[in-house]
Symmetry: C2
Subunit: 333 residues, 2 copies
DNA sequence: CCGACTAATGTAAAGCTTTACATAATATTT
DNA sequence: AAATATTATGTAAAGCTTTACATTAGTCGG
């Protein structure tokens, strides 16, 4: 039912109805009641598509996440939502699946549909499109990775510190043959994690073996594959640093299938913590990011930007090393 | 940049540009190239909000899921997406968090933004709104739960069979004090699971103890709470059937904290399987739903509906009982 | 009781695309 | 070569709301 039909029925102008719905104070209480009552009665009037044509604000925040199956992003979305809702915003999620093409589709969609704000876990490309989104008036925040868009807020974990903690932990246990299952190198966070892995080894005077650095795509299957490759080497590593949760799942599947003992044969430390890591056998040593805090911070920042505050800032959250039983001294020590 | 600006620049009519973008065959190859080139050059023209005003198709499928942190829904979305993308559709996700109010916001949003199709994991209310969405021309499919909307396709697991399998498994192990951590009773699937639990016990001649049926809200915390309540009883159960994954996580946290031994003190079987259930200690006996298949079926059905096929159907997928080590004979047997 | 102000409502423009229909140009048929 | 069909483009309407501005009615101070 359109405004004009409703208007005819109630004998008021379209404008009055629109006002009664959008700026209730601008219309006399009596008419307002009459209109609102009718709106409810008639199977609820729903503002149609033309709304966004004129409306300045859309009260919608788009979120592009990179992997909906990764609990890290799920928790992130969840923590954003409650605060957004309390402030009258709806959160719309698109899953890019670490795929730049899908990200492009998601961004176009958000641009089309004119979101007020965009929180983006970038795959790395699509800068031009992001620029267009910004041009359309949306506030943009990079989360977890940097998109490369100039002059943007970015909220991430402190990847340098997190990775350093993990590697140092392995070194201090006596490991020297330390591998990594790295993420795709077009992602800023994956790059940092790999660089710091290399730097930490170098600093400790450990020779860097190129085959010890396998690159996956942040999804489970690739974690499985990379682990397999590591154990095909003539001198397999005694410890491995996995760059994210999903790839760690893949690693777990592999070691369980093949009977590799953790930590007796292989020590494992991974970026990202999950509920179940504490409970599996053995419990996994992990670098935990404070997801909830990060989510809350991000949405608060977004709300500020939507209120008009300016200036780009870069915020990093300190991750924590949670030592569990998947890491121990290497065999023969 | 709007079409009219572009039109002036290229010396063609707005209509021609619109056609070049939307129905490339309707425009001469030479002009088409010229237009497309310009469109690219100029920081890429992005169709604006007015597009949806006239366009018949939006090529967008909205999905309202009930809990983004539940891997079941995450996997569902994932399996939908690939096929949707191959068919030129974008998937937009809203998280209702088992909260009818949030669901309402999500549905209004999708109505506003005019999605072509809606896949809904209903919280139970909002039928009027769903009707409005349908009226707007969208195809609607209920997934996992029934919304109550008349004449709708619904895709679910066979909850009757799944629950019966679980309870029979416990009974056949010799359990008689069987509890359940049920879901919120306004959800159709939670209702079915509870009913079948009761019916199965009755059929086996087991007395139904009302305190053995605790209702949670399908989220982790409530699983924790319900377990706590069960163990406060003077005669705690020897087995429990948990109605979904997240509540099972809560249960696990509780039994680990308190040192309750599974399955020695308590046998556990849960609806929904997850990657990690196989690997935790002890591995959890679970009712696995064929999520991927369900997702693929749902999106295929949606695509058919969008192509114009009519008639509502109800499809159920058979779940499987995966017996692991969390279930055993009760103590003293 | 008049003028000035306020409050409530109406009028109409703006917003930007898609597409039915009209027109012009070109190709094809007889 | 004329008549007809086809192709390419243009014109303009339709789509439905929001909101600036105009209008009307009502209030209040002097």
């Amino acid at each position: 039912m359109t405004l004009s039909e409703l208007a005819r029925e109630l004998n008021v102008s379209i404008a009055t109805i629109s006002r009664a719905l959008n700026r209730p104070d601008d219309v006399a209480p009596s008419t307002r009641e009459r209109i609102l009552a009718a709106v409810h009665r008639n199977g609820k009037y729903q503002p149609g598509k033309a709304r966004w044509l004129r409306a300045q604000q859309t009260r919608t925040i788009g979120v592009v996440i990179s992997d909906i199956r990764n609990p890290f992003f799920a928790a992130f979305v969840k923590s954003i939502e409650d605060i957004a809702k309390d402030n009258g915003y709806t959160v719309l999620v698109c899953n890019a699946d670490e795929d730049s093409e899908k990200e492009e589709a998601a961004l176009s969609m958000f641009l089309d549909r004119k979101v007020a704000g965009l929180i983006n876990c970038s795959t790395g490309g699509n800068v031009a499109l992001l620029r267009a989104v910004r041009q359309s008036g949306a506030a943009i925040i990079d989360f977890d990775r940097e998109s490369g868009l100039e002059n943007t807020d970015v909220v991430t974990a402190d990847n340098v510190r997190g990775t350093a903690l993990a590697i140092q932990h392995l070194i201090s246990l006596g490991h020297r043959r330390i591998a990594t299952i790295a993420g795709p190198q077009h992602l800023s966070n994956a790059r940092t994690r790999l660089e710091v892995y290399q730097r930490s080894l170098a600093r400790a005077g450990i020779e860097i073996v190129s085959q010890y650095a396998q690159s996956g795509n942040f999804q489970a299957e690739s974690g499985y594959e990379c682990t397999r490759k590591l154990f095909k080497l003539s001198k397999p590593p005694t410890a491995v640093f996995v760059a994210n949760l999903e790839m760690c799942s893949g690693l777990i599947t592999f070691v369980r299938e093949t009977g590799i003992r953790v930590p007796a044969d292989l020590s494992v430390v991974t970026f990202d913590d999950a509920f179940w890591m504490r409970y599996i056998d053995p419990p996994i040593t992990a670098i935990a990011q404070p997801v909830e805090k990060m989510g809350q911070y991000t949405i608060q920042l977004m709300l500020e930007r939507l209120r008009g505050s300016r200036g780009a800032q870069r915020k990093m959250f300190a991750p924590k090393l949670i030592i569990r039983q998947s890491t121990a001294a290497p065999p023969g020590k």
